[in-house]
């Protein structure tokens, strides 16, 4: 069980680029199907790395493999300059599949309290903890949602609440799996703005699976084009103009225009 809590101060003090995440020779095979092979990535902290690719390219699988949710080959190394040694990074995760049981009587507060402590959330609600939860929610502008049921939230609201949860405790590595649909344009904008600000405030390593190329262009520092293996890595401008990008998304009309 992970009990590595990092205070916010120490996170802000960490200077940018001095820690990095190395994904080495990652591969996932389910049954006889090779879903991912030979994934090598080197990600610095303070960077927002977006993963794009066609449906079924293995984007969500990569996230789940990083989490250790599904078996994989290869290794994940997290190096922090201050401490110098390899260690297991604290991970924050916002799942793609947001279709929770809509009748569940679980409020946002319940969810946070149950993640924060071991005292049963329904029995004990310490004032101090509730205040902390409000602070965490304020980071994603969701403090007004604290008493709402999870099932009663809109897609965008739920995504923000889960983002706040993923930041409590502040992780080393934040994995975001963006839902394909169900989030309105305003919600999307707010989400990207929040994530973008977080990267600077907390010096986080953020890996984001995205379906919105426009948002990727505007907010990502680096883009990884994935289709079972890494096809392109680089700044958004480069990757979104690359040959493999056109090939993958079959945007031939765009090229002809030029």
């Amino acid at each position: 069980m992970k009990n590595v809590y990092i205070s916010e101060n120490s996170c802000q003090k960490r200077s940018c680029g001095l820690c990095c995440t190395k994904i080495k020779k990652f591969g996932v095979t389910l049954g006889n199907t090779v879903i991912l092979k030979d994934i090598n990535l080197h990600i610095h902290c303070g960077e927002l790395t977006a993963i794009i690719g066609p449906n079924g390219a293995g984007k969500s699988t990569l996230i789940k493999a990083l989490l250790g949710d599904i078996p994989h080959t290869g290794s994940l190394e997290y190096v922090q300059a201050q401490k110098g040694s390899f260690q297991v990074p604290v991970m924050g995760y916002v799942p793609q599949n947001l279709n929770l049981d809509s009748t569940s009587p679980t409020s946002v507060l319940d969810l946070f309290l149950s993640c924060r402590s071991n005292f049963p959330a329904w029995l004990i609600r310490r004032k101090k903890e509730v205040e902390k939860v409000k602070e965490r929610l304020a980071v994603v502008k969701a403090q007004h949602l604290i008493d709402r049921r999870l099932g009663a939230l809109s897609g965008g609201e739920l995504q923000r609440v889960l983002l706040a949860l993923a930041l409590d405790p502040v992780p080393d590595l934040l994995l975001l799996d963006e839902p394909v649909s169900g989030i309105d344009q305003n919600g999307m904008e707010l989400f990207y703005e929040t994530v973008s600000a977080l990267r600077k405030d907390y010096d986080l390593t953020i890996i984001l699976v995205s379906h919105d190329l426009d948002m990727v262009q505007r907010y990502a520092d680096r883009v990884v084009l994935l289709n079972h293996t890494v096809l392109e890595v680089g700044p958004p401008d480069v990757v979104l103009q690359s040959q493999s990008f056109y090939d993958t998304f079959s945007l031939t009309w765009h090229k002809q225009e030029k």
């Binding site: 250790g68 009587p105 319940d110 993640c115 329904w122």
Partner: protein, 282 residues
Amino acid sequence: MEFWYKLLEILPFEWAKAGQMIFMKNALLSIILLTPIFALLGTMVVNNRMSFFSDALGHGAFTGVAIGGLLGFVQPISSAVVFSIVFAFLIALIKHKSKMASDTVIGVFSSTAIALGIFLATLGGKSFAKLNTYLIGDILSITPKEILLLAVVLFLVAVFWFLVFNKLLIVSVNPSLAGSRGIHTFWYEVIFSCAVAVIVTVSMSWIGLLVINSFLVLPAASARNIAQNQRQYHILALVFSVFSGVAGLILSYYIETATGSTIVIILAIIFFATYFLRKKFA
């Protein structure tokens, strides 16, 4: 026990008078101990969509009783507890390992268990009648010694609940999310299944296998109709469960019916009442 009997004398019922109907007083105490356990575990059974699963656990317990009977135990409950834990673990394991829909896995296990139970119980031309008590249940037959056992189990479940509730809640919200927070989803499911298996097995002979699952599912399902958060959910489930238990026992005394089913009927009435009222609370 003496204290309990004295305490009951303040009640205005005929059976509550000193020195009378000891079995009724024992039953009342055991109901007050049993119903909160079922309510607490039931909230999570419903959260995790396991109501079919807990039903199968009852069937596994029945097989355990039959095996115990075959091995010559006078009180086959201890062998039943062991068997139902093994059974619960197996279901959880196969559910986890295979890609089959979980209701299919549970269906397979559940029907195998009940068939095996009946097969073993009737092996060599024996009569099934002596096992009827496990099917229908008889709370009035409970002894002070068994009540002590119940109290111990209640205490253990309460401790268990205190330790794992939060983790189970996160697992029920989203398993991947739980995984990212370092929670081993599978093991928590196993521990929880075993807790349910033990409680179902221990109380089977008093409540009756045929209705025992309703004790788990109905209070929580009713509370879910109107609760907005986990606190309301648990408190309502506890209130519904204890109220129905006590009311059902007393009612069954006066109208002379099986206690287990009387309690379940009251629970069902509460369920439908909350179901029709749910819009007012939403």
